[in-house]
């Protein structure tokens, strides 16, 4: 068996490690030709501007799949489709066309008072399965 080469680990303070990495990136960026440097700066600015628009939520996998397929088929970004869906949702709520009350069930979580439990008929086929798996049988 080949002998494993052991390397001594240096456990750095996370802030020091992060600063060091950042400085190395800056240094290597500074060595790039002007055009590439400007391109990188634009990309960074774009990423920074989009930071506030990012959101992370849990979705049933089948619903996520449906969303991605629709966006792919229509050839537009999935984020914009989600934005449209949410805008419509809030319009409907404001106009009284959608009532959340029938979906509300008491939550046992200390953080929330309610869970929104969607009827199976509203969910895509695959999502129904995953929801069923998570539902505990009644005693």
């Amino acid at each position: 068996m080949a002998e494993r080469k052991l390397e001594r680990r240096t456990i750095l303070d996370p802030a020091v490690a992060s600063l060091l990495t950042d400085m190395e990136h800056r240094q290597s960026d500074a060595a790039l030709p002007r055009r590439e440097r400007e391109k990188k700066a634009r990309e960074k600015a774009k990423m920074r501007a989009r930071r506030d628009q990012r959101a992370t939520f849990d979705l049933p996998p089948a619903l996520r799949q449906q969303l991605m397929e629709k966006a792919e088929a229509e050839r537009f970004p999935a984020s914009q489709l989600v934005t449209l869906a949410l805008v419509r949702l809030f319009q409907d709520l404001a106009a009284g066309m959608l009532d959340l009350a029938p979906f509300k069930q008491p939550s046992r979580s200390p953080r929330y008072d309610w869970n929104l439990v969607l009827p199976e008929s509203l969910l895509p086929a695959e999502a129904k399965k995953s929801v069923k798996k998570n539902v505990k049988p009644k005693a």
């Binding site: 240096t10 750095l12 303070d13 802030a15 020091v16 992060s18 600063l19 400085m23 800056r26 240094q27």
Partner: protein, 275 residues
């Protein structure tokens, strides 16, 4: 009589109550931010509710100046004239007392040199106080007062600029600590604090890499270069009072993270204090 081990009494017990934690700020290179760091951490820990004493062991007497107080020969009166400590300390801020110094501190060195058990005189004095934290601001020199500061300390914080001469000063202080340790003093640890940190220069990166390579986790997050630090001492205000949100205090902002700065330093010191 057998001479006692440095930092211990004749019965072999440590010369200070176990709840007290003593930090020494040391670097044999001058102008690296020792006094500013000493004043800022002393006030920072005092603001966190810890009864703190700041001791000026430098004949320049700048700790009192930085706190907006007059320089006075506190250390001289304590050691050379034998006045009790409560008469020579001054209250600088809530929870923060200072044992000031001035040019008369030079005479203290001579007095100590003639004393028995001369390396542990300061530790012996601090033993009789009830502070939770003591911060020692050492002079950039190697003399008996400097050794007293190291012998008294549990943890040595070594501020350094990231230039070759200051980094060499780090090496020198570590050699001195090695000498003190060989004579029986057990340091709990030491940390290196990069100060005047300017992340845009190539030399900073080169020196930063060097000390990280040499000292690893002993390198604490740096204090960014900040002109407001100089302004604060001119007004006799601590950084907590004058510019609590300046880069030197808050560090660099990376997304949601804050990297370096005196606020983060206080958190590191509290970890040391709380074990």
């Amino acid at each position: 009589m057998r001479p006692c081990k440095v930092g211990y009494n004749n019965a072999g017990s440590p010369l200070k109550p176990p709840t007290m934690k003593i930090f020494a700020l040391a670097n044999q290179k001058g102008g690296v931010g020792k006094t500013t760091t000493a004043v800022t951490i002393a006030d920072g820990l005092a603001r966190r509710g810890m009864k703190t004493l700041l001791v000026d062991l430098d004949p320049q007497g700048h700790t009192a100046f930085a706190l907006g107080l007059k320089k006075s020969p506190g250390l001289y009166r304590l050691i050379c004239e034998g006045e009790p400590i409560h008469r020579v300390i001054q209250n600088a801020r809530p929870n923060l007392d200072i044992l000031p110094g001035d040019k008369q501190t030079e005479k203290v060195k001579r007095q100590i040199t003639l004393s028995d058990f001369r390396e542990s005189i300061l530790l012996d004095i601090l033993h009789d106080t009830e502070y939770q934290v003591v911060v020692l601001d050492l002079a950039p020199s190697f003399d008996v007062l400097h050794v007293n500061g190291l012998v008294a300390s549990d943890w040595v914080l070594i501020p350094t600029r990231l230039d070759a001469m200051a980094v060499d000063g780090v090496k020198e202080i570590l050699l001195t600590m090695g000498e003190v340790a060989r004579r029986g003093h057990a340091f709990q640890g030491f940390s290196i604090l990069p100060t005047f940190f300017d992340r845009t220069t190539r030399e900073t990166l080169v020196q930063f890499k060097e000390i990280v390579k040499a000292f690893g986790s002993r390198v604490w997050p740096p204090i960014p270069q900040d002109t407001r630090v100089r302004e604060a001492s001119a007004y006799g205000k601590t950084l907590w009072e004058y510019c609590p949100d300046s880069p030197a205090m808050a560090g660099y902002i990376e997304g949601k993270l804050r990297l370096g700065g005196y606020r983060q330093l206080i958190e590191h010191m509290l970890e040391v204090i709380n074990g």
